[in-house]
Symmetry: C2
Subunit: 544 residues, 2 copies
Amino acid sequence: MRASVLSDWLAQRLDRGSAQPVYRQLHKLLQQAILSRELPAGARVPSSRLLAAELGIARNTVTQVYEQLVLEGYVTSATGRGTFVADTSPDEIVGAAEIGSMQTRKKFGVSGAALPVGEVATNSHRAQGAETLAAAAPAAAAIGMESATQAQRPTARALSARGTRLITSAGVSKRQGGAFMPGVPDVSRFPARVWTRLHNKYWRSLRPDLLTYAPGGGLALLRHVLADYLRTSRSVRCSPEQIIITTGIHQSIDLAVRLLSDPGDTIWTEDPCYWGVRSVLHVSGLNTRPIAVDTEGLNPSADDFTAPPPRLMLVTPSHQYPLGMVMSLARRRMLLEYARQHQCWIIEDDYDSEFRYGSRPLASLQGLDTAGQVIYVGSFGKTLFPGLRVGYLVAPEALAESFATASAELYREGQLLQQAVLAEFIAEGHFTSHIRKMRALYGQRRQVLLDAVSRRYGDALPAMGGDAGLHVVMQLPEGSDDRAVAEAALARNIVVRPLSGYYSSRERANPGLLIGYACVPDEEIAPAFDTLAEAIDTTLPAFA
Amino acid sequence: MRASVLSDWLAQRLDRGSAQPVYRQLHKLLQQAILSRELPAGARVPSSRLLAAELGIARNTVTQVYEQLVLEGYVTSATGRGTFVADTSPDEIVGAAEIGSMQTRKKFGVSGAALPVGEVATNSHRAQGAETLAAAAPAAAAIGMESATQAQRPTARALSARGTRLITSAGVSKRQGGAFMPGVPDVSRFPARVWTRLHNKYWRSLRPDLLTYAPGGGLALLRHVLADYLRTSRSVRCSPEQIIITTGIHQSIDLAVRLLSDPGDTIWTEDPCYWGVRSVLHVSGLNTRPIAVDTEGLNPSADDFTAPPPRLMLVTPSHQYPLGMVMSLARRRMLLEYARQHQCWIIEDDYDSEFRYGSRPLASLQGLDTAGQVIYVGSFGKTLFPGLRVGYLVAPEALAESFATASAELYREGQLLQQAVLAEFIAEGHFTSHIRKMRALYGQRRQVLLDAVSRRYGDALPAMGGDAGLHVVMQLPEGSDDRAVAEAALARNIVVRPLSGYYSSRERANPGLLIGYACVPDEEIAPAFDTLAEAIDTTLPAFA
């Protein structure tokens, strides 16, 4: 394209009525012309004065576009000689076929690891090196050869093996609403006014130290307040230095697993257990060994004990998730003893320990541990609101500093202002007062639900696990299809989860439904349960 | 201990002057007596009436303590017969030596996978099974045998191999303050008033959907606003569905790496590169292949090209981190072509692209990609404030849904209220206006710093990489010890980072200092640089 041809080509394409500024349009059109080689490498572009005149636009606009194109490497500008289209063809991919092609490689500026003192990075080096261009043909041949080996990687340009496993086994639901969704607290009762008051207070102070990255482990104040809380409420033995603030259970477990285990290691998990945890474990290369639970919690079989000892165990002693039983003291001591003998780590997920109806919460497993082998994890997701994303981990004393370092290194956390708000919220007593209120509220809703269940089904379909937490498990007769029931319920806008989905395999699964009562207003529970019962009766005709 | 002996023992230990309630003291003392076998299994504890009288405390207190101990499995209560100390010795670890020992195992309630309908979890089952107790001796023998095999696991009860590597190579600093800390924006200029106004508005509405878990990918409104922003400002080709909101670069890279690669896969990284990224990659099992950079950015050698192609590449084309050069168009096209031929993924970290002085930001590499092989990542950590923890990832169209699912499954994100605030902050124009202001401010500080450097050292120690970002790199003479200089500076409360720490090895490293100017007030820059110069001159006497 000669200069005037280029002007015509541009004039035809510039749209003065467009919302896009002329500057941007011209920039894009020139890029396009260069990339498509309509403006070939080495061609001289019209002077800014000439082009501006031919297009009837401000010269300054053209100058700015040219400057941007120089910066981006599309054109090069030689003082007094004009502006030329740069060679934007891809750099050669050297050496794939023969190392000898190294000599023919395009070289601009200084390449290699050594960085010359005084060399400032700009693209204008390309102009200086333009005469050393070599043909691209050998590279193409090299690519052809490589493509043959490429065929041996069938999974290329798709998800990885671990990614595929993650996606195909994902348990996360896209549903956000609907009655009986398990694990969702009633956030409408959250003391938003107190929270925003504290929030505004910290924002007004505009303390830079609260707006930057978190030191490893989180805000010192929150770690202190939490250590006090966990010592008195959960009998956890810890100093503030052992507390690591995380974004929740997922991150706490991710951190512990990465620090304490290697790919190929085994972890004992409860069967059934929380679906989300399995993905976190698998993606870190762990093999899970599902261990059955009975009325006393984790119940390893003779086979489990004869197998090579695991590196880690993950348990929910306070309130087995999702079934709700409490791990007996004898079982706790057995686990601690086994872990001590076999040098394994125990991750104690103290899920839902705050919401216990009719009895004080049990002391933590960590508090019984004298060997520093328990990692205690918990979160504020259920006690305050899930979207808060604040959890914590209590590291063994000997590893506390490593955990803090690893947390900062891996996650580069922040959110310190929110942590300050939370610390003050706890220190001022709002946290325990909120828990007390919510426990009363949830206890009442739980009772309404249990009444509705027994009124409808008597002993035929008993509900269990309701001593604590935010859901009950309604058992279904052996052999019944709880997924089908859950789907029938979903069609009626009732969100329950099939219990079988929490087991490691269909063979080991017991059918049942997780029914979350916490976020359903009292008066809606019985009607919603009637709707659920309709779904049950339709799907399991024996109960109709 | 007989009943009266127990009362005496308790009376001696109860401290009525203590801040700890009598209830809690009594509970702990009884636990202690039982665990230590001073109160042996099977012993009858005094009635609550008797014990209360002997201790001179309310009977109700004793009753509550007993109830708690029953719940915890320390004592069992048989109606009409009294309360007895339970057997709290650890359950036997069966089968380790011989499966035959299975028969002697303690069994309470129903064990095994089958969960009986109607069985509600309590610890009272222990009482019923108390007569089937077996001796613990065989288990001890079994443990002894296992301990022998245990000796073959030298790393047990320590950090894992990946954990050890993570901790020993951690680059994170505990320092939070001090002049010249690189990568820290000036948060004191953040428009806190606007932010809190929006924040309060959303809290007032108390929308439950903003307080719960995030749907995969984040808040729809923010994804829309961001897609618009990235399309117009960074020439990124994307729909809102391709945007995944993350907590920052670390999580974005973690997500991409886990979905797209498997342990043992290779990733090309720039040498030097951001220290934090290496840890994230290694902990996911990737092998990094450090690729030298030159003035045009990533510059693979013939050896790199002849090696088996990597699964992933991680590049910073807009502004190489930490050196600051812009990747040339030819190099970009070469990378895209190589990735297309060899089916690798490119992660484009668009670090600091917003802070470019004297020129418009360059278009993204993602915008040049026609094969859907680029994953674009960015964050608001530098443009707003680091503690915000909001980043984003633009997934290839074909994988957008998988990325959203994996994000929810792995991280269980929330923070939707904050995302709503951010979306409105951007939509109302505060974001671009803030960037504009900060760019002017940082540009000015950068100039003050560059002037100070050249006034002191002329061409001897040039500063580079200052065209964009929040730091410059001052090069030190070949062979000089930049770590020693940084330490000498730290002793003077000046926080600079040694450039050599960003390289994959000491052999490939060039010495230099990263000097962050963004959060140093204008008038403090020259004095702080004088202090830094003192440290340089002391450590490198040639420059004194």
